[in-house]
Assembly symmetry: C2
Homo-oligomer: 449 residues x 2
């Protein structure tokens, strides 16, 4: 099946290789063969041995035999798989009605007010969409309209989505997806890339300034800088902070806007704040959010400073049929309920701290672990062949991921070289889950790291 | 609120005018004021007096006071508002698990096989997305990749969606949304536009040939012709058929593909066939679908001829997190269940025939009705100031829509001049619903038409 696949596809982290299909259990083989017959372009499975789940609870997933897998990867079911509150609220709404935003819906207004209350003053308009890609697509439409520019700055291996427009500023999609002519790439905030004598803040600011200069030299006025506060696909670079104020100054001086892509870092993923940008001490012009927003019911959002969005609103028609209709809004509101009732953010902070400390402890002596990075319930472990050269070791990373999966603990990989373990459980992760993860990780690390 | 709005916004059919907000009931005013404070660009309400619903059943919607409105407009709740089968299946799935397509899901494969079985041979690959816009965006990405072209042909007032890319080939969005440089417009298949001595087939074919020639003269190779088989936003032109084979021949001869946008016309809306394109005796290269697919749970799809999509699949990464996950797939499968159990298509055919015949009967003598068009449960009534000049009368159309709404029957308007009544109930529309609609319409027509 795969011999003619491009490097962009083959290099996807922790991708199941269809060439080994015949080694899988018979029923799994059969389902995957059928799948291959009917699904369109681009569908990939994860893990050397893919897995199917029939139920879930908290951070646990259960297969056909009732085996209990610990989910340390999925960020969509943020308050937990099949959370009873979300199930109840959404089921009730399904049984009542689902109207779109061209009808009056007090619940939509209530939700918008509640969600906007988690933002700093100034970010006061909410538009809803269906996916993170649609949110970033709308954000960029508005940014281009408002600024009159076409230039875009993103990090070197960023991922922002898969619409035609957004794929053109998502370099991590690889060579099959060409970048737009007005897109410029900068390093993620990796302190190891800073020249001696400089600082991370200077390095980031200089890169943005150079990118703007190069854009302008090519006739592109800046529309936007877009950053994911976790730099997830770049390899997870949450710290240190402190460089953003200078970066945003450059962006604004060039007439551009700063779009904070919170699809990964939003909804308290990083523990300290509801939104990742808040750690950086800057006010974005536009904020986008997605995956965890409805705990699996498709909903995404864009929050604007009105000065940035109101001219678009006066001139451009935008209606997204499903977005903002009663069912996704019910799901979004239920997630906010659970955040309050279970004090989710505090739990993320506490369990995230233990999780990261445990991972650091386990890997401290390993010659194959260059760094442990991350914050809250998002941790990256950079796997290298050699701590001095930092040469990435994708094979070893995938051995670890696969060994973990065989022990029924689900993580995956990230970064261009696919050598960073991506440890990102549902926010429902408990202290018992942390313990189970660390015990299993210690076993695997003992053999592999 | 509206004095600085563009013509594109103000001209939206049956749009609530915020300037008359103070004439509404107090609670409604309050909700709309709050809504205006928190929602982002582009949100519009329908009807001179907007309305809020708290429950629904079949083609009926109920407001806070329990008033029973007949829904003759919404195509998303296709098998009926809050259909018990869909509620049950989706609620059960919500309580079980929701994994994405990077895990094995037999239910996804089952659904894809079932849905593809409704297509003619050759259309055999399904990709899922979240919205019709995402479906059309992916369709165009694949079309451009496959053909190497950038040229697009659509009808003059077509609507295909709201991503950056799709908005550039959706002329009905109006002047605020510029068309792409490689987009060319042709007339919808309105026989009244055909020159004496010619035929509709010749007229349509000649327009496509001219558009291709003009594109090539400007350096654009053709990527795709995209048509909505109902020509919904153009004003609803379902008949006569017979012109598409020649049109598609031109498209293929120029190296382009034919994308059938079935967001409006799919899922048996037109009664005779599951898919609108099937009435035209042509095989599309790509088919897109959306709104009714999950009865309100966000799900959309793209079906490809493998020859068109497989090269994209080998080279380009595409992953849509929510799309194809367990909840939307459960909703999609439940809709197909209901189609089989209730023989939905037969019901559409029967009730559609009665509906249209009744509307024709009521409007036959009216000096203000130029034509009744449509098929199945999609009927358009063109309202004019004068049957000879065909001068559109938007005001009169909106009077009719508003009078119907005041009698608790919901329809809306379409076409560039907003003068075509858009009569498009859920497919759950019963013969009793047809009777109620026709009685109310006869009352309003007696006064207005």
């Amino acid at each position: 099946m795969s011999s003619t696949l491009s490097r962009a596809i083959k290099s996807f982290p922790n991708r199941f290789d269809p060439d080994v299909l015949s080694t899988l259990p018979a029923h799994l083989q059969e389902t995957i063969r059928r799948r291959h017959q009917v699904l369109g372009p681009g569908y990939m499975l994860m893990y050397r041995e893919p897995v199917e789940f029939v139920s879930g609870q908290g951070a646990h997933l259960f297969d056909h035999e009732g085996n209990d897998y610990l989910d340390v990867y999925n960020n969509v079911p943020c308050v937990g798989h099949a959370h009873p509150r979300v199930v109840e609220v959404v089921s009730r709404q399904l049984a009542a009605v689902n109207t779109n935003t061209r009808y009056v819906q007090e619940a939509l207004v209530d939700y918008a007010e509640r969600l906007l209350a988690t933002f700093p003053a100034g970010l006061s308009r909410l538009s809803l969409a269906c996916s993170g890609s649609e949110a970033n697509d709308l954000a960029m439409r508005v940014a281009k309209y408002h600024t009159g520019g076409e230039g875009i700055i993103v990090t070197r291996w960023a991922y922002h989505g898969i619409t035609s427009e957004v794929s053109r500023f998502s370099p991590s999609l690889g060579k099959g997806s060409p970048l737009g002519p007005g897109v410029r790439l900068i390093d993620p905030p990796d302190p190891r890339l800073v020249a001696p004598g400089s600082t991370l803040a200077e390095h980031m600011r200089a890169q943005v300034r150079d990118a703007i200069e190069d854009l302008e030299r090519h006739g592109f006025r800046l529309a936007a800088l877009v950053t994911d506060s976790t730099y997830s696909s770049d390899g997870i670079f949450t710290d240190p902070v402190g460089y953003m104020p200078g970066v945003v100054e450059e962006v604004h001086a060039a007439g551009g806007v700063y779009i904070a892509d919170e699809v990964q870092s939003g909804f308290a993923r990083l523990g300290e704040e509801m939104w990742g940008f808040a750690r950086h001490g800057v006010l974005p012009d536009i904020v986008t959010m997605g995956k965890p927003m409805g705990n699996g019911v498709p909903i995404s959002g864009v929050v604007f400073r009105p000065e940035v969005s109101d001219d678009f609103g006066r001139n451009v028609r935008y209606f997204n049929t499903f977005a903002g209709s009663s069912i996704p809004v019910a799901a979004g509101a239920a997630v906010l309920d659970v955040f309050e009732e279970e004090n989710v953010q505090q739990r993320v902070l506490e369990n995230g701290t233990t999780l990261r400390a445990g991972i650091e402890e386990i890997t401290r002596e390993s010659p194959y672990v260059a760094e442990v990075r991350g914050r809250g319930l998002y941790v990256g472990v950079e796997i290298v062949a050699d701590r001095d050269t930092l040469a990435p070791d994708r094979g070893l990373a995938e051995d670890v991921i696969s060994d973990m999966r065989d022990r029924r603990v689900l993580i995956s990989g990230t970064a261009k070289a696919a050598n960073v373990l991506k440890i990102r459980p549902p926010l429902a992760f408990t202290s018992a889950d942390v313990t189970r993860f660390l015990e299993t990780f210690a076993e695997v690390a003992k053999e592999r790291l």
